[in-house]
Symmetry: none
């Protein structure tokens, strides 16, 4: 029975210099991961790409997977921030408009980091639950839940809310990712329309 390996950064960077070094490590790790995949991202290569010695990595992270987890967290944070901004900026619109905008934004954002996304989806061995991304998913789910409840009478009355929520979020999430990674010959405009149709037709009365 072994302890689960420590995945938290080893020291909280207080000083400015340290924080910059952590930043460089994460940026380098992101680059190396995107370009060479999980197996190709050796600690030595990450250190080299970050312009520091391999030994120094271990000043900031207890082991390799902690670095990867930090990269994933950064990715999730960025996504959450930007989707959050999007939500805020269209919250006032009618829900069809807001939803469509959100779909569009999500796909655009994923496209920006398609290389890293591919590695995350295809190569990263599951390193325990991917907390930050799960949190984002929950946040979006809650948002949809609110819409569902607020507009209850616009929808099928036999709706099992939890089942529907799971199906909706997974459908939208998985399809967005697949779309970005597989690049089927469907223009993004059309894709967003279809996704919206899929969702709306599924839940409306």
């Amino acid at each position: 029975m072994t302890h689960p390996p420590d995945m938290s950064p080893r020291r909280t960077p207080r000083q400015e210099r340290s924080r910059r070094t952590v930043e460089r490590i994460l940026a380098a790790a992101t680059r190396v991961l995107s370009e060479r995949g999980y197996d190709g991202a050796s600690t030595n290569r990450i250190a080299e790409a970050a312009g520091i010695s391999n030994g120094s990595l271990y000043q900031y992270f207890p082991n390799k997977d902690a670095i990867v987890v930090a990269v994933l967290d950064r990715f999730a944070d960025r996504l959450a921030d930007r989707l959050g901004a999007q939500i805020e900026s269209t919250m006032a619109e009618p829900w069809q408009v807001a939803g469509r905008a959100l779909l569009d934004a999500q796909i655009r954002l994923l496209e920006e980091d398609a290389d890293l996304l591919r590695i995350i989806v295809e190569q990263i061995p599951r390193l325990g639950p991917f907390d930050k991304l799960a949190a984002l998913q929950r946040r979006l789910t809650d948002l949809v839940r609110v819409y569902l409840l607020l507009n209850r009478d616009a929808f099928r009355e036999d709706l099992d809310v939890d089942a529907t929520l799971w199906i909706l979020t997974e459908t939208v999430g998985q399809l967005s990712i697949k779309y970005v990674l597989d690049r089927p010959p469907i223009p993004r405009e059309r894709m967003v329309d279809e996704l919206a149709a899929l969702v709306v037709r599924y839940i409306r009365a």
Copy 2:
């Protein structure tokens, strides 16, 4: 430009003993893969699990990936065979019935090999395209295409057939897999109903 490494079995077993050994290797590899993932499935561990010596693996497979590919092929073949049988047995029914039965069968089959499925989904893309599973996907897609074309007047007239097909097959495929792997608190009956609703409502007029 180098030859891609040989992935085909090294020797077609003639003797009964050989056939049994190959069986044991594949069974052991399936077990080890399911339990420890791709990286944890070292040739040593597979040999040990199969109760044979390390060197014997290489009597039958040219390298580790060839073993993994054989395991996947077996999985895909099994799936294709049983889905094929399912299709045949309900082809005569109305398409709503046949479709629902197919969804139900697919989820049941995936559930049977959930552990291996998890590895396939989460770790195997590193091996490049997984031909047999892609072929199965194409086969199912073709089936749906025929239904769409035969029943054109029952559906929305603005349907972009190719886009719709891509979305439908990916939705059903990804959601079935996610359902089996994440085990959300939705009974299978309900899940099948919802999936059917999702699909039918998306395409009908």
Copy 3:
């Protein structure tokens, strides 16, 4: 068409410690090669003989053959340096004297590294052409060529210069090596005399 594997040292040692380690690796490799031959010189044995870990070898050399090549290069460099010094120091003498001194020096030098020489002669051609030694051979050939041309009238007039050069250098080279490796019951003084006689009588008018 694949790249030839990299044979150059992996890291130019900066620190004193590194330099010492490389020295120890090369010394150990020389020893192991001399005693156990190419096939017997496993990387593990070399590392053990050097008193370092297996992995450390690969900090400095990309693969086993690079180590062997480095050993050979060192041998050839040493030989070239010392023969060069010999040449310089007797260049002023009449050519018979200088030639005899060169022969004598060459045999002495080979005798010093007889064990390694045996491995080079008997097992190393597998590594492909041994550049540094070939360069030394060319250098000596050029030297002889100059003597031949300068003293043309002292020699047979039907001399085919290129054929003669090939025969002379190979004769002297092969016989010196054979003498050192087989240790026939001929004193070195005598051997040098006979070699000189062989050469002189062959080319003189």
Copy 4:
């Protein structure tokens, strides 16, 4: 302290069938050695080339090196037989003529098996003394010794017979081999002439 490994054929082939099998093994081993080198000549490949199962090799030879030794012996025997025939057929001629013919024959014979010769010289780790070839060398040496003694007055009187013999045989042997393997741009006729000149000038008064 281990016994030197057994190098003699395991059973003396009495029956015709066995003898034929041994022949096939040796022919196959010669071919594989010539084409793929010592390291590439695995027992499996030799067995396959001989059209028998790998296990059967060990009915006839105790280990791999015994096979290689047998190949070398066959090569030496063949060379001895044919040089012997050459000697017999020109024994009656004056020695200059006979000697030249012998040189010519030797180079021709080596050229016929140049591929195998290259492997022997460059790759075969020394498997104990190469008895048969040594015997051939001794035989030729004896021949030359007789000539030297019989024609004593035609030669330098300060001749150290043993030293001279060693030098002569090695010179001729090594140069012939080098000539065949390196293919310098010297026609064989010329080469034979030069070799003869080298020898004759060396020993004559």
